[in-house]
Amino acid sequence: MAKEQAAEKIEATENPEVKISIIPRYCKGCEICVKLCPTQVLGMDVFKVKVVDIDKCTICMACELRCPDFAIFVEKKK
Amino acid sequence: MSARYEIRFSGSGGQGLILAGVIFAEAATIFDTKTAVQSQSYGPEARGGASKSEVIISDKTIDFPKATKIDLMLALTPEACMKYYKDIKPDGTLLVDEDFVKETPKGTFKVIRLPIIRTASEEIGKAFVANIVALGAIAAITGQVSLEAVEKAVLSRVPKGTEDLNKKALKAGYDLAKARTNG
């Protein structure tokens, strides 16, 4: 049954090291990721999360690990 | 049942619309001389999502308490607007937040757009009083209850210390509507 429709992602890719993907339809705007990000990479776009400054990302994974809604993913490129 | 007037407050979970409905009903039946019934819909677990609160106002006892032919519906989010507008009377009114509800469904009903949330956040400085702003606007548009009654009802319900804030919000909504609907 799994995987019948994957929700569309917004991907921040402008940094060579890291890719941050956000699924707006899943994001509930709880701000957990925003507030737990040690380097203020993330911010709010009214009710949803957005990437503010990807270059500050240290790929600590705190946001992905503690997002309760499967809405944000961080990947080290290659 | 001509005397019967049906209002639906709709939006998303956290926007205080149930409270708005309660206050409006209290204004009508406690601080004014009407009969009123307020009810709300509970989701499976009332967690966020579109939510609605209904108030029926009449001069006589109200038996059937649910809104089926809506005279005025408020919608603060597009989801709520689409989910709930269908029961609006052909000659009814749809009141929406002009910033958040861009598209409105087609229908013979009248549509009024007001910057409710903006007024709350910018003019009053607190987005969370949007529901009170809306109350003022609805008082003005429907004329079902006097502004005084609504104000009394608001003050009887809001937390101490926030009285003035809410008074301002109510007045702002009232004026906003009066201005826009040049009533």
Binding site: M1, K28, G29, E75 | -
Partner: protein
Amino acid sequence: MAFDYDQYIRGGKLPHIWCPGCTYGIVFKSILRVVDSLKLNRDDIAMVSGIGCASRLPGYVDFNTLHTTHGRALPFATGLKLAKPDKHVFVVSGDGDATAIGGNHFIHACRRNIDITMLVFNNFIYGMTGGQHSPTTPSGHLASTMPYGNVDPSFNIPELAKGAGASFVARGTAYHAAGLDKLISGAVQHKGFSVVEIINACPTTHGRRNKFKSPTDMLLWMKDTFLPAVAFDKLPAEKTAGKFPIGVLFKKEGAPEYCETYYGLVERLKKPREGRA
């Protein structure tokens, strides 16, 4: 390559019903990572719950899932496990579901030491019904049925499980999500009844009423309040007030597992006459 949660989540079920900032989603992800790391076959897994927000989890996972009545998940699960002793049975339950109405089933499952993995989502409140106090609500906290501050003493879930005879007892939190994977994994691998109390946050019905400004504040409170057992044990007595240990808190080795004992009897009886009454 990011972990693929979708493979274990039923199609079209996300976003889940939990509130913004509800930490259940964090735990949900931890469970899926564990199932994946242990290479369990989804057809061989049953996840059983009672009623409550936590108990909504089985609806999302692509296993054999059973959403029962309030407090009764364990006896339903006991039926499944005894009938099919070679399968993996998870029970997810809230603090109310597990220790209020379900308290009796909880202690008896501990006593029997039946091989079920019991995950107790403790958010210190009855979330689904709107924030009434539960047997774990801290004293003094406000709840919809404790408008003047909670006067009820609360359970220490690991102590309760231990007193009832559980053979594996652990505690983790949604904040310590990575460590949680290890605890749940250990629980699944333990042969016998395993309990993991998982500290969670209910911003909607508990946090707001109790001056937590945001879900994040509740996670940070977990960070300060729950210390790894090793660290906790090192604390001088006066420093432990208001702090709690996390990790595997109690483990009994070699306690007989219920299904093994029962089917052991069945085997014994197959041998002609022996042991017959």
